[in-house]
């Protein structure tokens, strides 16, 4: 089972203020190019998509390829007009989805 992602957002922001979201997920991002000791190719297993929703509306997303480093650490900006539930989701090659929600209060 994958580890819980680490997300950093301000607890509260002013309306219309631009703030940063930092999101880190522990994941090997196995590229499919590496071989193990016996020379067998390690199969590709990466997070191929990241989506951030604010109150169920997609506000930012990223398509990752194999050239994204292990433990993808993403920093991006948001600007909210109302108090929002942020839902951050990581989509794994194996079909599993890791999701985490955080609340950002808009004053």
């Amino acid at each position: 089972m994958a580890e819980k992602p680490r997300i950093r957002v301000p607890a509260s922001v002013k309306k219309g203020e631009v703030f940063q979201v930092k999101a880190l997920l522990k994941h090997p991002m196995e590229s499919g190019n590496r071989k193990d000791e016996s020379g067998k190719t390690l199969p590709r297993k990466i997070i191929n998509k990241f989506v951030c929703k604010a109150n169920d509306k997609v506000v930012f997303s990223a398509d990752f390829n194999t050239s994204v480093s292990a433990d993808p650490f993403l920093t991006f900006s948001l600007r909210l007009e109302e108090t929002s539930k942020l839902e951050l989701s990581w989509f794994d090659d194996d079909g599993s989805v890791i999701s985490e929600t955080v609340q950002v209060e808009v004053k």
């Binding site: 509306k57 506000v59 930012f60 194999t66 050239s67 480093s69 900006s77």
Partner: protein, 150 residues
């Protein structure tokens, strides 16, 4: 006699190389991947506007497995005018596409940071697109000491 044999052998070798290269079409001989084609498709025949897109990357990356990248695009990020897409390509990596970001006016700022892998010393290409149809393209060279894709 021996020189002719050598020439023949070389000619044969060159011929074989051409034959094996043929199926991939008109790819330039030294391109490691399809970065140029992907960029061309992204730009869609438009001339990229200069000076709007900034790339932050180390000049020398000691460890290619984790190279910090920051991309920022100058834009008001309003409903009327905002960056919709940013595409990062690595011209010498096994696959050209590194990451693609999709922005909305709620992004507030078209700036994003991520750590990427670089397999060799190369140019990193960053392309961007706005909702008004402008396109941007910048390239930045990075020296890689230890490859990060093996």
């Amino acid at each position: 006699m021996t020189t002719i044999d050598r020439r023949r052998a070389l000619a044969l070798g060159a011929g074989l190389a051409l034959l094996t290269a043929a199926p991939v079409g008109i790819l330039p001989a030294f391109a490691a991947n399809d970065a140029a084609q992907v960029a061309k498709a992204f730009l869609d025949g438009k001339e990229p506007v200069k000076g709007k897109l900034a790339i932050e990357l180390p000049e020398i990356a000691e460890n290619g497995a984790t190279v910090p990248l920051v991309v920022s695009v100058e834009s008001p990020m309003s409903e009327a005018s905002h960056v919709t897409e940013v595409l990062v390509l690595a011209e010498e990596n096994p696959t050209s596409r590194v990451v693609r970001f999709a922005f909305t006016p709620s992004s507030g700022k078209a700036e994003v940071a991520l750590r990427i892998r670089l397999s060799a010393t190369q140019n990193v290409w960053v392309l961007a697109k706005t909702n008004t149809g402008e396109v941007y393209l910048e390239k930045k060279p990075v020296k890689v000491t230890i490859a990060g894709c093996g």
